[in-house]
Amino acid sequence: MTSLTATKRSTRGAPRAERGRGAVDRGAWFLVLPALIPILVLSVGPLLYGILLAFTDAQSGRTRSTQWIGGLNFQDLLHDTLFWESFRIGLVWAVGVTVPQFLLALGLALLLDEDLRLRWLARALAIVPWAMPEVVVGVMWRLVYNPDAGVLNETLRDLGLGDGRDWLAGLSTALPAVIVVGVWAGMPQTTVALLAGLQNTPRELHEAAAMDGAGAWRRFRTVTWPALRPVALAITALNFIWNFNSFALVYVLTSGGPGGRTRLPMLFAYEEAFRYGQFGYAAAMGCVMVAVISVLLAVFLAGRLKGGDEA
């Protein structure tokens, strides 16, 4: 909606100012429409429709027409302990993946920025998790975690550390086990982003700091980190959102089990919508997810941007 009005305004008011700058003028709509229409029809539209659905009793495969039921779905959600449990699991998962992911990626990025011999190998390997379909990542780690034929238990047995267990099926081990996979899968992308940020920091600053006798930690704090902060913040915020909303990895690893211990909000909503056909209710879940994420993110970004240079 806003985009549509924006089109009108910008095509009407712009030509004089833009002329002679080599920029597009009156014909901008012609360049913009091909992308704008699909975005409006297949993304913005469904989103608004989805929010509307949250206020209805829409179900799949029902003959009776859909009724507007106001905030009833949200009222039900409020009392749905299973949903809030999955929400809690989603937050634990998102934080549990995002934080180690960032720290490990930062470490690796700093290493790769140094002049080390095996650097090329690490860079090449970092591509693998990034390029892999999430389904394959899930499958692969199922093989690693396999209670009998898995490499993890075998290694533990070799080291004399117990007889191994069924990591993905254990009530207390399932969530940590999938978190490890999440960290593994998202680390490369974070590393590359941070590495790109590192290579943007001026070398001379480092050298000057080193000449002044600053140790590694001081150089990191006074030179590296300030330059890296904008990239680090952006990628952390994005990672948190992506992780909170993730689906395929855990779906393949545990399908939300055992006993719902790894049932992320997306898995819960998916089951509600496409197994039980509760479209309206699932849409309400989606709305709550967006709302909470937005609030958390606003708090995070507001807190971090204050007092520092902006992204």
Binding site: P34, L111, E114, A126, E134, V151, W242, M266
Partner: protein, 277 residues
């Protein structure tokens, strides 16, 4: 920069730990894929298969329609990549060259679209596509993939456009070339490598996608590779490990190859898009 010897040793130890962490699941996947059923059944698995075999690959093709699934994936990914780039490039150009409300709105959408859980979009789309009889159709899936790949495609492309000096276009304009002419003969050739990289990235994204495909495609004949892969895992979570690993490995190869080819460009694209001019 000078680093002490102990510092170096520590760095190499850390790097080695990273290498192991990154590599070992993938090596294990390879190992399982080439193991004989007898070896897979043994209680003490080995890293390197004692008598490597291709049986798992054969069996994987027997058990599930992998070729057809790969064909479906290829079709969906190619279609998505082509359409996404075709429609994204002009918009990215406007976003990069103009600070209009529209450009800002598009940029806002790129960012905001990352925050929405897919379930909020897929339910209404499911209903709409059902009415259009596009459920269970690859074409419907391609449409979704286009929109799904757009934010990142725009992000990358905006960066590539900004990398083309505006002065070049102005020079062409001074020489009397029209806007369209300038775009086609000056800007487009310089953008071409970036456009190819973006298309390949959209291809990988679609090739790897699972959620939309899972929800939309019900008939086995139409399902894409990631969905078919999950059929190897039984309802009770019991899986035939060898063929599962073999199929998983095959499903990864295309995106791995493509990714290796364009990795540098993706990285620079990410960065270029991230750095505001």
């Amino acid at each position: 920069m000078r680093t002490s010897t102990t510092g170096r040793v520590g760095q190499y130890a850390a790097l080695l730990a990273y290498l192991v962490f990154l590599a070992f699941p993938f090596l294990w996947l390879l190992s399982v894929a080439f193991k004989s059923p007898r070896e897979l059944g043994s209680l003490h698995p080995t890293w390197i298969p004692r008598d490597p075999t291709l049986d798992n690959f054969r069996q994987a093709f027997d058990e599930q329609p992998l070729l057809r699934a790969a064909g479906n994936s290829l079709l969906a990914a190619l279609g998505a990549a082509l359409i996404a780039v075709l429609i994204a490039t002009p918009l990215a150009y406007v976003m990069a060259r103009r600070r209009s409300l529209l450009a800002r709105a598009a940029t806002g959408w790129v960012v905001v679209s990352q925050a929405f859980p897919l379930v909020l979009v897929i339910i209404p789309l499911f209903l709409v596509l059902k009415n259009l009889r596009l459920i269970d159709s690859l074409f419907g899936l391609v449409l979704l993939y286009v929109v799904w790949a757009l934010p990142f495609a725009l992000w990358m492309l905006v960066g590539y456009v900004r990398a083309v000096p505006e002065e070049l276009e102005q020079a062409a304009a001074v020489d009397g070339a029209g806007r369209l002419r300038t775009l086609v003969s000056v800007t487009a050739p310089l953008l071409a490598p970036g456009i190819v990289a973006t298309a390949l990235f959209a291809f990988i994204t679609a090739w790897n996608e699972f959620f939309f495909a899972l929800v939309l495609l019900k008939t086995p004949e139409k399902q894409t590779l990631p969905v078919v892969l999950t059929h190897f895992i039984g309802a009770e979570g019991v899986a035939d490990l060898g063929p599962l690993a073999a199929a998983a490995f095959l499903a990864t190869l295309p995106s791995l190859v493509v990714f290796a080819l364009i990795q540098r460009r993706i990285t620079s694209g990410m960065l270029a898009g991230a750095v505001k001019s």
